[in-house]
Symmetry: C2
Subunit: 438 residues, 2 copies
């Protein structure tokens, strides 16, 4: 592409940890960006809440404004980077930017997971791009591989560690034996968790990302409300120890699966976020601290994994700038990239219909026939057992049962049944199992 | 994108293990491909050497031809997939296809590494695309992330395990203690190595991929002849054991580095393929058997890794089809993707100028002052030592020295010097060290 004389104007909305790095890179790499885009890319405005706030970057004189709405409507703004986050005013600003003819790059997972189709339709109508690589797993290129590299293949499963805070906490629990509370405290002390950790710890952040991943992987509309969500606040040191005994590790996973319809029925999609045991030999098991990774299975390519930093101003800004180069090139070429692909319009299964496997640890009376009685409870719910380990411990014994795949409804009914049985003193750990071939 | 009535005609050149899977997927996924491209994609011809050869796929009646040259010139061919491999006739066919107005997808690493710019210029002139994701690391999306996702960042280093055969052999040597010969034999028995394993074992295949990776990562032209190449046929069981003692593992790495110029001089590029020790804690160390992985370091994104099957008909076909969808979409939109990006035109350093670190194991006389004498030899070549481990063994002793970073010329001169010293009985292992922070 020959370099153009006309420069492209960029407006950045938000100048927090990501926005300030976007502003920095736009200035430091101006020469490279111009060469890669084919035209200069010029920062023309930065919208902030307060002009006098402390910032990680020096914004050139005169570019700061508190009037984001006026900024996105300006004629000299060709590209808008939205890194404010949250639903409003982000949504309104993105829609206005598109209507005024700008292309948009956003890192806003919450908005995309709640109302992505509204944004995609607005972009389609305006003939502009909306790109959002930074919305999932920070710097890790995962959305572009899903929507482009694997466009000739059939993705069957995505397993993602897409929240660094919870991975840090679970990793600490695994390596130090700490309980959830202590590990959370350490994450907060080190800046990996916020003072109010709810969005991370309860899986809301991961659920938004799961919806985005599932939409792209399965060419269907999946929103955050479609995602079954369980966080890690109830994961105990005993669960983690139980996993260790199984040569497994507990991870908070975003799971997106294509489920072939029975008897020639239509394929459906299962999307959920919950803690799960995975074998230590699984590539995701070695993802430590606050790193992210996304494991993808597809029919032709087989198993792929994408690994890297899932958050942080500078890594997220790298993803934003990569998208910015693409939408800028499209802009110069008078075209746009592939828009939303939801043609498959697959149904989303409820959690009860989703198929999973359970690991259940049970304290039982240590007497003859206990194992048979417990096995019968599984059988009554049509759940097949893969392994049972029995450990006598004086008065009582512990049974650790790992099931074969069954519907989550069957499995949770089995656990509820176990809790009512006389010989069962306590169900000490219930955890789903992932990353194991059936 | 609305679906078009006009279908796009695809010609496949070559129907071996990759070509036959491309043909299969084009037929099996026709509906999905049409939806994702926005128009039907129709197989219109398959060029083969012999019409009556045994094939993994049934090619529809009338599509097989031995006249590849006539096929690529046909008016109904919009897209050409080249999976013949080798330099000719592949190059001539690709150039002819572009001249006749087709867009091209190729998996031909040897051709791209030898003469990529000729192909890129022909594509530019024709206003068509040439895409080649499948040329490096099979199904792993690595070229698209480098040229698009990281387009707003500065890549500083790429470390790749990009040859499955050699990774399988080195993994066997590590896990079983086998020598190179036995591990190669096992690889051949299992179909991971060819009867003539030279291209894999001596690093030619990896060197071609290194040239392609370096060209994209550093926006410069790098050809196979620029790549310093050492294979694994001289890696001994002793080397592997010595690595194990260092809690490291030996891998054949494709290494592409951006080296900042000294004193404000221009940046340059170092590109090489050789066996190297990496710590077991490095993400690449856990890449087992014939899998591939590419580790990327960039200024803003930090450390990323891409992992998956690096070869095989079906995974490679997945990468080909992903590219096919992109070039087909571009075709329909009347545009083309980003062409060659070589604006930075960085110089390629010779191996002697490249900076590396050495691990050297030396059998020495066990007498006082030996360590000092050896240390002096390193100092004479201006090589700084990071660690020395000394093990007395009766009559003689072994020294294991790991250097700090120095030029390869300094390091190899040091080793040559050591070999001439009276107190040195034998230099038992020399191996470069990678994946360690300096």
């Amino acid at each position: 592409m020959k370099e153009s004389d006309k420069s492209l104007g960029v407006a950045v909305l938000g100048c927090g940890s990501v926005g300030s790095q976007v502003v920095r890179l736009l200035q430091e790499q101006a020469g490279d960006l111009a060469a890669r885009v084919g035209a200069p890319v010029e920062l023309v405005g930065v919208a902030v809440r307060r002009l006098d706030a402390a910032r990680e970057v020096e914004v050139p004189e005169g570019l700061l404004t508190t009037d984001a709405a006026a900024l996105v409507a300006r004629d000299d703004v060709d590209l808008v980077v939205e890194v404010i986050g949250g639903i409003e005013p982000a949504r309104g600003l993105i829609l206005s930017a598109l209507e005024h003819g700008a292309s948009v790059v956003t890192a806003n997972k919450a908005l995309l997971a709640e109302d992505g189709p509204t944004l995609f339709e607005a972009a389609e109508k305006a003939g502009r791009d909306i790109y959002y690589e930074a919305a999932v797993a920070g710097a890790i290129p995962i959305l572009r591989p899903l929507r482009e590299s694997l466009a000739g293949d059939t993705v069957t499963r995505v397993l993602g560690i897409v929240n660094g805070t919870t991975n840090f906490i679970l990793d600490k629990m695994d390596t130090s034996g700490a309980g959830f509370g202590d590990a959370l405290q350490e994450a907060q002390d080190l800046g990996y968790a916020e003072a109010d950790p709810t969005a991370d710890v309860e899986g809301f952040d991961a659920a938004a990302k799961a919806a985005i991943l599932a939409s792209l992987a399965f060419h269907s509309r999946v929103t955050a409300s479609d995602v079954h969500r369980e966080g890690i606040s109830e994961v105990t040191a005993a669960d983690v120890a139980s996993a260790r005994d199984m040569d497994s590790v507990v991870k908070l996973l975003a799971i997106c699966e294509l489920r072939p319809g029975a008897d020639g029925g239509e394929d459906a999609v299962a999307v959920r976020v919950h803690p799960a045991m995975i074998p230590r030999s699984h590539p995701l098991a070695s993802v430590r601290e606050a790193y992210n990774a996304v494991f993808v299975e597809s029919e032709a390519a087989g198993q792929l994994m994408f690994y890297g930093p899932g958050a942080g101003g500078s890594p997220t800004a790298s993803a934003v700038l990569g998208d910015l180069v693409t939408v800028a090139r499209n802009r110069l070429a008078g075209t746009r990239g592939a828009g939303e692909s939801a043609y498959a319009a697959r149904a989303v299964l409820s959690m009860g219909e989703s198929r999973t496997r359970y690991h259940v640890a049970i304290d039982v009376d240590d007497r003859a026939g206990v194992l048979a009685t417990v096995a019968l409870a599984f059988a009554e719910h049509d759940v097949s057992i893969q392994t049972v380990r029995q450990e006598g411990r004086g008065d009582d014994a512990q049974l650790v049962v790992v099931s074969h795949e069954a519907t989550d409804a069957q499995l949770s009914a089995t656990v509820a049944h176990l809790r009512t049985m006389d010989i069962v003193r306590d169900v000490t750990s219930v955890m789903r199992v992932e990353g194991v071939a059936e």
